[in-house]
């Protein structure tokens, strides 16, 4: 059993759960106490000792079902299948097995253990033999669907299936000689049993393969997702990405709350200290500090929503809005050539609806050709009041201006009024400044120009915006 638990723990680890050695030891002790008789209790014992996060429970449940139901269930089902095929009731089947036992005593002395176990419907024995054979056939190494046939053959070989077939043939000849009443039935039983065993082998191999298959799931995929460039996301991945963003936002919030707590203590506060220590006759046993006020940043986001960078803008807006309580004020603008404010839509609608409104083109014409210069000039004319000394301005765009006038003086103007100006570019750094890219011109006016091609980079940028 312990071997199985260790293997199960490994399986959990492969699926992104952190299971320490100490926890596996706990699981040993717990299963010893709880016993294996009742499946639910066994499951509860493992869950209490090995899974420590509510979010990991579904993965655990899935793996548990897969791992521990495996072989025993399959064998039982197969046995049931044979019984059903012969259309016998439980009682009849029992009687039949007794007859079979008689026959085995008479003719089956030389039969192998496997044949005996199979014909006696001895599920426990069968399971043990299958597991032994699986170990010998190194079934644990199976990885791909394509290997199933190979491992099924290997398993059959280790089990001695060809010998079994011969034996059953001989046994049938024995039956022919003896005039037994239920002969026809017995022959059918032999046939069905053999088929059932082959079926068991196939299904066993498949279950084992599925177990290994699970390792390349969730955790890995999210990891890959956060490294994948926004440009190449499929619609399904965008769905997934929403989850990833929410999770990242939560992580960032946690980090920040710790950071804030660390920064909580400010300077030594003489007045408070004296007052507190009056109790001790003025001897300063307890020092008091004032609380430092943390200033929340104000953020203004200018998002290019033209086709080329739409995904990034979507995620950027979404990320900032999941973190809204970290900022005192967020105003978002979207532009292609015209520029429009979308802050209110975010306030009144679900984030999803708001993004749809933004990207559908109700607010501005999203099918125009990008014109950064025009957009910046309109912003400076109409909205420059949104920018003050506390504001961080983030521009998100590829800087591809279609050879229009760049109006880079607008950026200088914005920078002179803002606390900082950050430009995020979803294009690879190597391509900046080539073709109609105006990054060379816009870049010098910004405090920070960053490549922002995937979720991880986005995360780092947002992290930087938050006070330390």
């Amino acid at each position: 059993m312990e071997e199985k638990l260790v293997e199960f723990a490994n399986l959990l680890r492969q699926n992104g759960l952190r299971v320490s050695v100490a926890e596996v030891l706990d699981a040993f002790a717990a299963t010893d106490l709880a016993g294996l008789a009742e499946r639910d209790i066994f499951r509860a014992a493992l869950r209490a000792t090995m899974v420590k996060r509510a979010s990991e429970v579904p993965i655990f449940d899935e793996l548990f079902d897969l791992y521990f139901s495996g072989l025993g269930e399959v064998i039982k089902e197969a046995g049931q299948g044979v019984q059903d095929a012969l259309s016998m009731s439980d009682e009849e089947f029992q009687q039949f097995l007794e007859q079979m036992e008689e026959m085995l005593q008479k003719h089956g002395k030389e039969l192998s253990e496997l044949a005996k176990a199979l014909l006696r419907n001895n599920n426990g024995q069968l399971e043990k033999m299958l597991q032994q054979a699986a170990r010998d056939a190194r079934l644990g190494n199976i990885e791909r669907t394509i290997e199933e046939a190979y491992f099924a053959r290997a398993l059959a070989r280790e089990l001695g299936l060809d010998r079994l077939e011969r034996e059953l043939e001989e046994f049938r000849e024995q039956l022919d000689k003896s005039e037994h009443g239920a002969r026809a039935r017995m022959e059918e039983y032999l046939q069905r049993r053999l088929q059932a065993l082959q079926d068991i082998i196939r299904r066993y191999v498949r279950i084992e393969r599925e177990k290994r298959d699970l390792k390349t799931r969730e955790s890995d995929r999210l990891q890959q997702l956060s490294e994948k460039s926004f440009l190449y996301l499929t619609p399904q991945e965008i769905e997934k990405m929403n989850e990833a963003i929410t999770r990242l936002a939560q992580r960032l919030k946690n980090i920040i709350s710790v950071r804030k707590r660390l920064a909580k203590k400010g300077r030594f506060d003489i007045k408070k200290t004296l007052r507190t220590n009056l109790v001790y006759g003025g001897v300063p046993f307890k020092l008091r500090f004032d609380r430092r006020k943390k200033e929340k940043p104000q953020v203004v986001i200018l998002c290019d929503v033209s086709d080329s960078v739409r995904n990034v803008s979507r995620f950027m807006l979404q990320f900032v809005y999941s973190l809204q309580d970290l900022y005192s004020k967020v105003r978002s603008f979207i532009f292609v050539a015209e520029i429009g404010e979308i802050t209110e839509h975010f306030r009144d609608n679900d984030i999803k609806d708001a993004l749809d409104i933004a990207l559908r083109g109700d607010l501005i014409n999203v099918y125009a050709h990008s014109n950064f210069g025009y957009a910046f000039r309109t912003f400076v004319q109409d909205y420059i009041g949104a920018v003050n000394k506390k504001t961080t301005v983030i521009v998100l765009g590829d800087g591809r201006n279609n050879y229009n006038l760049p109006h880079d003086w607008c950026l200088r103007e914005i920078k002179s009024r803002a606390k900082q100006l950050i430009w995020l570019n979803p294009e690879s750094k190597n391509t900046w400044g080539f073709g109609d890219s105006e990054m060379e011109r816009y870049g010098p006016h910004c405090d920070l120009v960053e490549e922002c091609r995937n979720l991880n980079q986005l995360y780092h940028v947002i992290d930087r915006l938050v006070p330390r």
Partner: protein, 326 residues
């Protein structure tokens, strides 16, 4: 204490706590393995109650530590009673003078005082807080550390020694080992993720909202004089509310409150006006109330249609008890 998992369910049942097999298994294991339990789950599903009932079921005193932001050792473990120490030195001034009598030079005086200083750092002047009380308790006890997620991460780290070895270190007194290993229950509302180190030392139990049958049983056990019909309706309403996207999903404690309120009003069946009047016992935010009202309107209409008898008419055959109230 507990001889088996069934025994846990039975014992808890005596104190009106309906434990599922999963909960019972974890409690049984915690008791047998002497491991703390970290209980997580949404608000109002009986996490804190688990600790209280456990104490009652094993017949041991409960020591409770409520966590909050800024909780530190001096509030959780022990504190020296400075004021008392100071008072004693004042009163014993003469004695101090006696001890110092004839001391030659400052060094010797300090030496003499130092030889007496354990008088002032003895049990007499220590103010035991919950954790120290649990450790030094002469009889076995149950320690409930409530809402550990509200405490700072440093405090969590401080708990590690206690939870793994059941000992604490007080610099002046040395390391104190627990006389009896207490049963420890930690609860968390998941305001933040606990550290792996803490989780590793605990058994983990996640309590979710109960299913319909279980909630019905809980209500009937806790409030025996509720009518079957009302209990069933309440459970159905609450279960449907939990499917909504509410800011604060109603827990078991809310359904109990509601049933209590309704039984006080002597209600036998729910109707729309009544639901609207009492809704604020189960839903705690303005926005949630609106959402709940919409959902419930549908539900009540449906259930009325199912009963087949249009709206309950006051002029109809039997006057309900509620009409007597008005």
């Amino acid at each position: 204490m507990f001889s088996s998992i069934e025994d846990v369910i039975e014992q808890f049942g005596k104190y009106n706590y309906i434990a599922s097999r999963r909960i019972a298994t974890v409690v049984y294991l915690a008791n047998a393995l002497k491991k703390p339990v970290l209980v997580e789950g949404p608000a109002g599903v009986g996490k804190t109650d688990l600790g209280k009932v456990l104490a009652e079921a094993v017949g041991q005193p409960l020591i409770r530590l409520q966590c909050y932001e800024g909780l530190d050792e001096s509030k959780a473990l022990y504190e020296w009673e400075y004021a008392k120490q100071l008072l004693y030195t004042q009163i014993l001034k003469d004695k101090v003078g006696e001890v110092l009598h004839g001391a030659r030079g400052l060094a010797q005086a300090v030496e003499r005082i130092a030889s007496e200083d354990e008088v002032f750092f003895s049990d007499r002047f220590i103010l035991p807080r919950p954790l120290l009380r649990a450790i030094r308790s002469e009889q076995p006890c149950v320690l409930l550390i409530d809402e550990i997620d509200k405490a700072d991460a440093e405090f969590e780290a401080f708990l590690l020694e206690l939870l793994s070895d059941f000992q604490v270190t007080v610099p002046e007194l040395g390391t104190l080992k627990a006389k009896h290993i207490p049963l420890v229950i930690l609860t968390s509302n998941n305001a933040r993720e606990m550290s792996d180190a803490l989780k590793r030392r605990c058994l983990h139990l996640y309590i979710d909202f109960p299913d319909k049958e279980q909630e019905l049983r809980i209500i009937k056990t806790k409030i025996p004089d509720v009518s079957d019909n009302l209990a069933e309706q309440v459970v159905q309403v609450i279960q449907s509310l939990r499917k909504l996207d509410l800011k604060k999903t109603p827990g078991i404690s809310e359904s109990l409150d509601w049933v209590k309120a309704l039984t006080l009003l002597n209600v036998k069946t729910l109707d729309e006006a009544l639901v609207n009047e009492t809704l604020d016992t189960i839903v705690k935010y303005e926005g949630d109330v609106r959402k709940a009202q919409e959902e419930l309107k549908d539900y009540l209409e449906k259930s009325r249609a199912r009963r087949g008898g249009g709206a309950p008419t006051p002029s109809g055959g039997g006057r309900s008890d509620k009409d007597f109230l008005n």
